[in-house]
C-alpha cells in the first residue's frame, strides 16, 4: 500500500510538473527570448482550460457549450483561444516598453477572472464545468494516471522540440538580436513589433494548451481551481530559477519549484489548522524571497542561456 | 606657465575598446581651445575623458594642480569644470530659471550673483526666465545649456559641439558669447564640426584623427596649413 501511495503521488507530481513546465516554456518564448513581461499567465491558462471544457463537456441545460467534442479538438481550440486573446493585447502594448505589457496582462488576467466568475451561461460560474473527457480515463486508477503522465510528457517533448527548433532558426536569431539590442535591430529594418507579437502569441498558445491539459486531468475546471497570482508567480520563479532563455532550464525550474512547493505544502499540512493556514502565506513569502535571491545572486538561473552561434564569437553553436 | 588643464598621454574608451590612444592636450587659463577632426576621431571622447565619463587605462589629467584622473563627475564639477553635452543638455520641462538653479545645485547660499552674471551674458534668457526650456529654439536651448554650466563659476567650460544643427547666425552668436565668457575669466575647451569657423575663432586648436593627436597650433596656423586643409577641412 505504501508503495502504491508513493507511486501515485509521484505520478500526480509528474503530471503537475509537466503542466507547469509547459507554462514555463510558454513564458520562456515570451520573456526568455523576446524579453516580454507577461504578468497574466494564469489568465491565458484559464482561457485554455475553459475553452476546452466548453467544447468537450457533455451538453448541459442553461449553458452555452457542451459540444461533446473529442479532447484533442478542445486542446487545439484552447491554443487558438489563448492566442486570440494575446493578439489584441500584444498589438496595443508591444510598441512600448515591457512595463506596459506587464500592467496590461495583469489587467487581462483580472478580466478573464471576472468573466469566469460572472458569466454563468458560459462558464457555469462558481460551480465550474465538470465531466470533461480524460484520455485514458477509463483505465484503472494507477494506469490511468500513468497514461496521462505519458501524454503530458509527450506533449511537453513535442513542445520542447518545436520551441528549441524555433530558437535555433533564423527567427530565433532575430528575436535574440531584437531582445539584446533593440536599437541595432531597428536600424537594420527589422519589424520588431511584429516579431514580438509572434513570440507573445506563440507563448500564449502554449499556456492555453497547459490550461486545457490541467482541466482534463482534473476532469473539471472551476474558478477556484487555481489562484491566479500564485500560479503566475510560480511560473515566473520556475523560469527565472531554471534559467531564462534556456528551455531545459525552464523544465528543470518547473520540477525544482513544484517539488519544493508541494512537498512544503505536505509538510505544513501536518501542522494544526491554525498554523497550517499561516504556513501557506509564509511559503508564499519565501517563494517571493527566493525570486529576490535568484535575481540578486544568480540571475542567469541554474542553467544559463546557452551561447548560440550568433551570440558568441568563438561559439560552436549551429 | 603651468596650464590650467593638461591631459597627458591619455588612453581609454567605453568598455574594453581604446578609442583614445595617448592623447595629450593643454588649456591655459582664459584660453579658448578647439578640438577638430574627422568624424569618429575621438573628439567628443577626449572631452568626456576629462570629465571622468570614460574608462581610462593610461595617462592622467591634471587640472589646476590636482590629478583629477578617475574622479567622479560630481567631484570634478565641484573642483571647477563644467560640461555641456551635445544633446539632451537642458531640462526641457523646467523653466529657464530652474535650469540655471539646477546648474548651481551644489552651490550653497544666495544665487542672485550667479543669476546676474549668466543673465548678463544671455540677456535674451532673462526676459523669458519663466519659459519652459523645451519650448525654446535650438540656439536658445544651447544658451540655456551654457548658462546652466556657468552657474557654478567654473574655471573651465567644456562644450561638446555647441553649434551642431544651428543656423550660421546662431553659430556666430554662440562663438561671440563664448568669447564673452572667456573674457569673464573662464577657459573653454570645445569640440567642433565646423572646423574652419571654429579655428578662426579659437586661440589654439588640436587636430585629432583616429584617436590620436595629429596637429596642434594656433587657430590661424592650422587654418593656413595646406595639408590640414585638405585632410580635414574640405579644401
Amino acid at each position: 500500500m505504501e508503495l502504491i501511495g508513493l507511486v501515485n503521488y509521484a505520478l500526480f507530481m509528474g503530471i503537475f510538473i509537466g503542466i507547469y513546465a509547459l507554462l514555463a516554456l510558454g513564458l520562456n518564448v515570451q520573456w526568455g527570448f523576446a524579453g516580454l513581461f507577461n504578468a497574466g499567465i494564469a489568465g491565458f491558462f484559464a482561457v485554455g482550460a475553459y475553452t476546452s471544457a466548453i467544447l468537450t463537456s457533455a451538453h448541459a441545460d442553461g449553458r452555452i457549450g457542451g459540444f461533446d467534442m473529442p479532447f484533442f479538438v478542445g486542446w487545439l481550440a484552447a491554443m487558438v483561444a489563448a492566442a486570440a486573446i494575446a493578439w489584441p493585447i500584444g498589438k496595443i502594448c508591444l510598441r512600448f516598453r515591457s512595463d506596459y505589457l506587464a500592467i496590461a496582462t495583469i489587467g487581462i488576467a483580472e478580466i478573464i477572472r471576472l468573466v469566469i466568475k460572472s458569466e454563468e451561461a458560459l462558464t457555469n460560474s462558481a460551480r465550474g464545468i465538470t465531466g470533461l473527457p480524460r484520455p485514458g480515463g477509463d483505465l484503472p486508477y494507477v494506469e490511468s494516471q500513468a497514461a496521462y503522465l505519458a501524454i503530458v510528457i509527450g506533449v511537453l517533448a513535442v513542445t520542447y522540440l518545436l520551441v528549441e527548433r524555433q530558437f535555433n532558426s533564423p527567427w530565433g536569431r532575430m528575436m535574440r538580436a531584437i531582445r539584446d539590442n533593440e536599437l541595432a535591430a531597428r536600424a537594420m529594418g527589422k519589424d520588431i513589433e511584429y516579431r514580438r507579437l509572434e513570440a507573445f502569441i506563440f507563448g500564449a498558445a502554449i499556456m492555453g494548451l497547459a490550461g486545457a491539459m490541467f482541466a482534463h486531468f482534473n476532469r473539471s475546471i472551476t474558478p477556484e481551481a487555481i489562484d491566479p497570482m500564485v500560479a503566475t508567480f510560480l511560473v515566473w520563479i520556475m523560469l527565472i530559477l531554471g534559467g531564462s532563455g534556456n528551455n531545459r532550464g525552464a523544465i528543470l525550474g518547473a520540477a525544482v519549484v513544484w517539488i519544493i512547493w508541494s512537498v512544503s505544502e505536505i509538510a505544513t499540512d501536518q501542522l494544526p489548522h491554525e498554523y497550517a493556514v499561516k504556513a501557506k502565506y509564509i511559503r508564499l513569502f519565501l517563494i517571493g524571497l527566493l525570486l529576490q535571491l535568484v535575481l540578486r545572486f544568480r540571475s542567469e538561473g541554474l542553467l544559463p542561456e546557452p551561447l548560440r552561434g550568433d551570440q558568441s564569437k568563438t561559439g560552436s553553436g549551429q | 606657465m603651468t596650464p590650467l588643464l593638461s591631459m597627458e598621454n591619455l588612453t581609454g574608451g567605453y568598455g574594453d575598446a581604446d578609442i583614445l590612444q595617448s592623447v595629450s592636450l593643454t588649456v591655459q587659463e582664459k584660453e579658448i581651445v578647439v578640438i577638430v577632426g574627422p568624424n569618429g576621431a575621438g573628439k567628443s571622447t577626449a572631452m568626456k575623458a576629462v570629465f571622468g565619463l570614460l574608462n581610462i587605462r593610461g595617462g592622467r589629467t591634471v587640472f589646476d594642480g590636482d590629478d583629477i584622473t578617475g574622479w567622479s563627475p560630481n567631484r570634478i564639477v565641484q573642483r571647477g569644470i563644467c560640461y555641456v553635452p551635445q544633446v539632451d543638455n537642458i531640462f526641457r520641462e523646467m523653466s529657464i530659471q530652474e535650469n540655471l538653479e539646477m546648474g548651481a545645485f551644489l552651490k550653497k547660499g544666495d544665487l542672485s550673483a550667479a543669476y546676474d552674471r549668466v543673465y548678463e551674458l544671455f540677456p535674451d534668457l532673462k526676459e523669458r526666465r519663466k519659459t519652459l526650456a523645451g519650448s525654446l529654439s535650438g540656439g536658445q536651448r544651447q544658451m540655456v545649456a551654457m548658462g546652466r554650466a556657468l552657474m557654478l563659476d567654473p574655471k573651465l567650460l567644456l562644450l561638446d559641439e555647441p553649434t551642431a544643427g544651428l543656423s550660421p547666425k546662431y553659430m556666430e552668436q554662440i562663438f561671440q558669447i563664448s568669447r564673452d565668457v572667456r573674457d569673464t575669466g573662464v577657459a573653454i575647451l570645445l569640440v567642433e564640426q565646423h572646423a574652419k569657423q571654429a579655428l578662426a575663432f579659437a586661440d589654439r586648436g588640436y587636430v585629432l584623427a583616429a584617436g590620436q593627436n595629429r596637429h596642434e597650433g594656433t587657430g590661424a596656423d592650422l587654418l593656413a596649413d595646406r595639408e590640414i586643409a585638405e585632410m580635414f577641412l574640405g579644401g
Binding site: 524579453g35 515591457s98 478580466i111 | 539646477m102
Partner: protein, 290 residues
C-alpha cells in the same frame, strides 16, 4: 434618472474612489518617471499601510484619521527599506528586472499582511455611517475627509516639487537623469525622497479605501490596475495628471454600472488603459512614454 440621483449614486462615490486612486497613482507616476520602472507592489504596499493603521486603531482605540500619519510614516520607511534591500542593487540592470522583483515584493508584502492579520475582512469602525444632506447631495463625513486629504497631500507635494530645492531635483532627475547627475544632484537622495513620498501616499490611499469600504488582504492588489490606468491616463510623470486620471477612472468605474453588470466595474480601468495606449500614450497632460 434625475441629476441629483446621478450625482448621489455615481458621481460622488466616483470622486471619492477617484481620490483614493489618485493618492496611489501619484506615487506610481513618480516612480515611473524618476526611477523608470512600473512598480507592481504599489497596491500591496497600500494594503500594508491600511493594516498598519488598523493595528494602531485597534491597539489604542483612536480614529483611523489619527492613525493615518502613523501609517504614512511607517509605510514610507518600509518603502525606503524595500528599495534599499531589494531594488537598489538592480539599478544598473535592465529596468524590467526591477519590475519582476516588484511582482515578488507584491507577493511578499501581501503574505506578511495575511500572516499577521489573516484573510478575513476587517473594518476600522463598526456600524453604518449615515450621509448628511447638503442641498440634496448626500455626502458622508468620511467622503469629505477623503477628498480633502487627497487635495491637501497632493497639493503639498505639488508645492514641494515646484518650490523646494530637492523637489526641483526630483523633477530634474525625471526630466533628464544624465544632466541631473552632471549637475551634481545626488541620485541616492532623490531615490529615497521618491520612495518616502510614494510609500506615504500609498498608505494614505490604503487607509482611505479602508475607511470608505473595508480592509482585505487583496484590497491593494485590486487597486493596482486603476492606479496605473490613472497614471497613464494623466500622463506619466505628471502629478496633476495622476489626480485627474484617478478621478476619471473612479467616476468611470461608478458610472459603468449604468451600462455594464456591476461585476465588470473593475474592467473600466483596463479599458481606459488600453484606449489611452492606443490613441494617446502620452496621456492627457503629455507625460513620458517609456
Amino acid at each position: 434618472m434625475g441629476i441629483l440621483e446621478l450625482l448621489n449614486f455615481y458621481v460622488i462615490p466616483g470622486i471619492v474612489l477617484g481620490s483614493i486612486y489618485a493618492l496611489g497613482a501619484v506615487g506610481i507616476t513618480l516612480v515611473f518617471a524618476i526611477l523608470r520602472y512600473a512598480h507592481l507592489a504599489h497596491g500591496d504596499l497600500a494594503t500594508l499601510g491600511a493594516f498598519i493603521a488598523f493595528a494602531v486603531v485597534t491597539a489604542i482605540g483612536v480614529s483611523p484619521l489619527v492613525a493615518l500619519p502613523v501609517a504614512v510614516v511607517a509605510t514610507a520607511f518600509i518603502a525606503v527599506g524595500i528599495d534599499k534591500v531589494f531594488y537598489e542593487h538592480l539599478r544598473d540592470r535592465p529596468k524590467i528586472i526591477t519590475v519582476i522583483a516588484s511582482l515578488g515584493i507584491a507577493l511578499m508584502v501581501r503574505a506578511v499582511v495575511q500572516v499577521i492579520w489573516g484573510v478575513d475582512s476587517e473594518s476600522y469602525v463598526r456600524g453604518i455611517s449615515r450621509p448628511d444632506v447638503y442641498f440634496g447631495l448626500r455626502i458622508r463625513d468620511r467622503e469629505i475627509y477623503t477628498v480633502l486629504a487627497m487635495i491637501l497631500l497632493v497639493g503639498g507635494l505639488y508645492v514641494f516639487l515646484k518650490q523646494s530645492k530637492w523637489g526641483k531635483a526630483m523633477r530634474a532627475m525625471s526630466d533628464n537623469p544624465n544632466l541631473a547627475l552632471l549637475s551634481g544632484i545626488d541620485n541616492r537622495v532623490v531615490v529615497m525622497l521618491t520612495w518616502i513620498i510614494a510609500g506615504g501616499l500609498c498608505a494614505a490611499s490604503g487607509v482611505f479605501l479602508g475607511i470608505n469600504t473595508e480592509l482585505k488582504s487583496m484590497m491593494g492588489w485590486h487597486m493596482l490596475l486603476p492606479m496605473f490606468a490613472a497614471a497613464i491616463l494623466g500622463g506619466v510623470g505628471r502629478v496633476e495628471g495622476a489626480v485627474l486620471g484617478g478621478l476619471i477612472v473612479g467616476i468611470a468605474e461608478e458610472l459603468s454600472v449604468l451600462v455594464l453588470p456591476s461585476e465588470y466595474k473593475a474592467a473600466m480601468a483596463f479599458v481606459i488603459l488600453l484606449i489611452m495606449l492606443l490613441v494617446r500614450p502620452t496621456g492627457l497632460l503629455r507625460g513620458k512614454v517609456l
